[in-house]
């Protein structure tokens, strides 16, 4: 039975009971009269007369009922009436609904992203137990340097964690299928999936207790790879594939949508997981027991019941005892510490701040929208003042009228909310495409109950907010005064006009906050685009390939830099012969400016000869291996010395090139040329610094230049190869051409990832661009709404003062006087709003100072331009009603 049906029945019963009671009353009165000696007929007549109209009594008594049934019934009436009123004013309704739909739609869209990335827990059982273990060397300012196998075993034995799995992201060459392909790879311990608590959709996966010290020749693959490369073969289990020439048996396919919990999009899209014991080949005997031979870190599940603070305390104690036990490995000055980070923070990483910022901004837009609708409603309340007054005069309780108005507002906002949700659902695909790759879990964005609840609550709140204005207006309604203003449409009181002005001032202020924020972001972005890169991405295309790195050394076709040099020279010669190619150079993956999919690839362990300030610890510096011609092709200028040449090969003394920042930092008073460094942990020979290049923004556009060191690719191997080609060509075509040439040399090598270098540069700004664009769109929306608000208030003022304007015109004022008068009103609103807005804008801009680049948070240009733009738009908003004012015909105005 429906609730309303139940209420109806309850009401029927109560009505029947009341009728019965009244009947009894009548009978008793009659009986009394008869007892006093009246004749039954007289008694009946006089009792009835005394009693009055039975129907009326019932009616009146029922009016006092305010039980649940009646409340629901009244709500139904209010709703019906509200819908009727909105249908009677379709223009008003449409404008209100569209405004709210945009506000709610935008807020809901941003919230759905926030929900998927920040709010929703990671999709594993007991996600709060999951942490990443990061090792810091505070003494040399290095964070997350990685962990050694003995440290891993110490932590495992500590009892703080139920499982710890090292993770090592890499690329690999998958061969043995129709064509060689590069796959994203994550080397993990066999307990990795058990630790996360995720089972493969197919197969049993690894045995978590697998004792193999090295690779156990088993691999689990992702659903995406299963679909794209194995045609969803249901018999894939047990199939053997080649990864970097090593054979692996596939023992599991992860479920669809499973993503490795990681910081970078490229890592999250891991396609293959081999299991590794981190205690055997290909790691050398020595490195397995060494505390300074590091893998890139680990994830862990804390023992049940431990909070992260508890676990951190126990880890700290363990670290202290290890530092005492191995003083040579952990010199005091390096200040080794182990830090537990919630795994979710790793995944969410850097997007928390921009997303919260966007949510705040979109909230402001919604507020401006609400102010606008409140204004619309107030304007309507003015024209409906008569209706309200008449209803009050006829006995409508003010509380009932207020409820009625509030219902109308909420109906409006809920309709707007529904339209907004529809908008989000329709635009979800586009939205997801717009979101940069840096935002994790984009595929998890769904319009679920949480998001719907948010949209619904936001609409209700919005409705209540803008609905309050007309409600308060009814309360202050002076019935007699309104009814006396016969014939005149307007009933707006001074109070009400003040409310409307305040609303518009608020709108203008909020819009200015958004506008100046957007301005600062645009200026930052523009500034970043103008930053001298120090290299020239014009007409440079990057194509990537990768040399296999088999675990079985005998299988390695490129075991030495010399073997790699032969390959590189061969390919280079072939590529130079391609039509349209002006120049070719090679580099390791990290040599591609501003492109660092794998954070651990870029750091080199560098030792400086004679530098004892860091004890035994190497410096961690960004570095890359490059071929001769690299600096020339990228247009990086050599400041002193020489760059690499064809003779810097494996049989010659190793050489290095550094950038100016490094020279300044480590040889502030000396000439860096001729100094010697060890460029990697494995290096046995000292490399001589032969050249210094100018600083280039190769790591980050926003930051200052960091020390960077280059080694010769012919002397120090890089397995991930980036091929730089100078010339004008289409990326798809050049990728095919390069693949043909590379595979002519070695048919097992994958060629992939062709990109224009300018796109790489622009890609590095993706999150910034995304925030900037959204904030700019929000700011323009707010600006437009504010202009509408000004327009509304001013045109209302003009129509209310038609009489006065007519009089002025009749008395000889000319059009420009009237125009000035109207415009002055608008300017006053704009100035008041701008003044308040500027204060807010300065507060906001200082709060986001860390995001700004090359522009001060109180940048006068931005604030001036934003204020000017806002004032201009506000004036445009009052121009239309001002035009109408000067066209007032005095005769009509005065006789009306």
């Amino acid at each position: 039975m429906s609730v309303l049906g139940w209420f109806a029945r309850l009401r029927e019963r109560r009505t029947a009971e009341l009728a019965n009671e009244l009947q009894m009353h009548l009978e008793m009165a009659q009986a009394d009269r008869i007892a006093r000696g009246e004749s039954p007929r007289d008694a009946a007549a006089s009792a009835r007369r005394e009693f009055g109209n039975v129907g009326l009594v019932q009616e009146v008594a029922r009016d006092e009922w305010n039980g649940a049934g009646l409340a629901a019934e009244r709500l139904g009436q209010d709703l019906r009436f509200a819908v009727r009123m909105l249908r009677r004013a379709p223009g008003f309704a449409a404008l209100g609904i569209v405004t709210i739909a945009l506000g709610i739609g935008a807020s809901t869209a941003i919230f759905s992203v926030v929900q998927a990335t920040l709010i929703r827990p990671l999709p594993y059982p007991h996600p709060e137990q999951l942490v990443r273990i990061e090792d810091d060397l505070g003494g040399i300012g290095a964070r997350d340097v990685g962990m050694s196998t003995p440290e891993w075993h110490d932590l495992e034995r500590s009892g703080i964690f139920t499982d710890i799995s090292p993770t090592w992201f890499d690329n690999n060459n998958l061969t043995g299928l129709s064509h060689p392909q590069r796959v994203g790879l994550q080397i993990v311990a066999p307990n990795y999936f058990a630790l996360l608590g995720v089972k493969p959709q197919l197969g049993a996966g690894f045995d978590p207790a697998d004792p193999a010290p090295g690779f156990n020749a088993q691999a689990v693959i992702s659903d995406a790879l299963w679909r794209s490369s194995f045609g969803t073969d249901p018999h894939i289990l047990g199939r053997v594939v080649q990864l970097d020439s090593d054979s692996y048996r596939i023992v599991g396919v992860m479920p669809r949508g499973f993503q490795a919990p990681a910081r970078v999009g490229e890592e999250r899209r891991t396609e293959v997981w081999p299991a590794f014991g981190f205690a055997g080949a290909p790691l050398s005997e020595a490195s397995v027991i060494s505390r300074s031979s590091l893998f890139p870190g680990a994830i862990a599940r804390m023992a049940p019941g431990l909070t992260i603070a508890d676990a951190q305390r126990r880890v700290d104690a363990l670290v202290q005892s290890l530092r005492r036990a191995y003083p040579a490995d952990y010199p005091t000055r390096s200040d080794w510490r182990v830090r537990l980070v919630p795994l979710k923070d790793i995944v969410v990483g850097d997007v928390r701040q921009p997303l919260m910022f966007l949510l705040g901004a979109v909230g402001l837009v919604l507020l401006v929208g609400c102010a606008n609708v409140a204004n619309l409603l107030l304007a309507r309340a003015t024209t409906r003042g008569r209706e309200m007054a008449v209803r009050q005069a006829l006995g409508g309780a003010p509380s009932r009228l207020m409820r009625q108005l509030l219902t109308e507002s909420i109906v409006l906002s809920v309709l707007g909310g529904i339209a907004g949700i529809a908008l989000v659902i329709a635009a979800k695909g586009t939205l997801v495409r717009l979101i940069p790759d840096t935002v994790p879990r984009v595929n998890d964005i769904t319009i679920d109950w949480g998001v719907l609840a948010f949209a619904f609550l936001a609409s209700l709140a919005a409705g209540a907010m803008f609905g309050l204005a007309p409600v308060l207006h009814v309360r202050g309604l002076d019935v007699t005064r309104v009814l006396k203003l016969e014939g005149r449409g307007s009933t707006s009181s001074r109070d009400q006009q003040r409310t409307r002005r305040l609303l518009v001032i608020g709108e203008v202020a909020l819009s200015l906050v958004l506008l100046s924020t957007a301005g600062l972001l645009v200026r930052s972005f523009w500034g970043l685009l103008q930053v001298p890169l120090g290299f020239n991405p014009q007409h440079v295309t990057v194509v990537r390939t990768r040399l296999p790195y088999p675990n079985e050394p005998k299988e390695d076709l490129y075991p030495t830099a010399g073997a790699e040099e032969t390959f590189v020279r061969d390919v280079m010669r072939r590529l130079r012969a391609l039509p349209g190619v002006d120049d070719v150079a090679f580099g390791s993956g990290a040599a591609v400016p501003l492109d660092h999919p794998y954070q651990d690839q870029t750091l080199l362990h560098v030792r400086i000869e004679g530098d004892l300030s860091h004890g035994d610890q190497p410096l961690l510096l960004t570095g890359s291996e490059v071929s001769p011609g690299y600096f020339r092709l990228l247009g990086m200028s050599l400041v002193r010395g020489r760059s690499f040449d064809d003779f810097d090969t494996g049989d010659k003394p190793p050489v290095a090139v550094i950038n100016e920042s490094m020279a300044r930092r480590y040889w502030p008073h000396d000439d860096a040329l001729g100094k010697r460094v060890k460029v990697s942990r494995a290096a046995t020979d000292w490399s001589t610094i032969v050249g210094i290049v100018a600083d280039a923004r190769t790591d980050s556009l926003a930051g200052v230049s960091a020390p960077h060191i280059y080694a010769s690719l012919y002397q120090q191997q890089g397995k991930h190869l980036a091929i730089f080609l100078h010339g004008r060509f289409e990326t798809g075509a050049i990728e095919r051409a390069v693949r043909e040439q590379v595979q002519a040399v070695n048919s097992a090598l994958p060629v992939f990832g062709a990109e224009r270098l300018s796109d790489v540069v622009s890609e590095s700004l993706a999150m910034r661009r995304f925030s900037m664009m959204l904030i700019a769109v929000f700011a323009l929306t707010a600006l437009f709404l504010a202009a509408l608000g000004v327009y509304g208030v001013i045109s209302c003022m003009v129509s209310e003062r038609t009489h006065e304007i007519g009089l002025r015109l009749a008395l000889g004022a000319d059009g420009s006087d009237v125009m000035r008068m109207v415009m002055r009103q608008g300017v006053r609103l704009a100035i008041a709003g701008a003044a308040i807005g500027l204060i807010g804008a300065v507060l906001v801009s200082h709060a986001m100072a860390s995001v700004l680049v090359g522009v001060s948070p109180s940048d006068p240009v931005t604030f001036t331009v934003a204020t000017a733009l806002l004032t201009f738009v506000a004036l445009a908003g009052c121009y239309v009603p001002a035009r109408r004012a000067i066209r007032v015909d005095p005769m009509t105005a005065l006789s009306s």
Binding site: E17, H25, V57, R62
Partner: protein, 120 residues
Amino acid sequence: MAPKHPPTSRIELLQGTLDLIVLQALRWGPCHGYGIVQLIRAQSNNVLQVETGSLYPALQRLLRQRVIATEWGRSDNNRRVRLYRLTPKGRARLSAERSRWQQLTEAIAALMVAPQPEES
């Protein structure tokens, strides 16, 4: 209006007074609607005649405020009728209203016996 009673013998009840009178009538125990009318008339020496059209809305109002409650009972001729009785909240209200009423009537009485301006 029933012309049997001269208008002067009827007192227009002050707003809110009816509620007080109904509560006061129920002080003696549960009573049905007709009984309440009779009680009020008898106790006011036939001056106050509560209109049915005012009584039942008042009863509903008081029910809603939870100062009275209903129960089923038997009338004199043994029929099932609805009885109204005071709730504890109603008793509290009654005593509060009574002292306020006292103050009001005393104040008005004082006003009435105050020296009158000389009539010219």
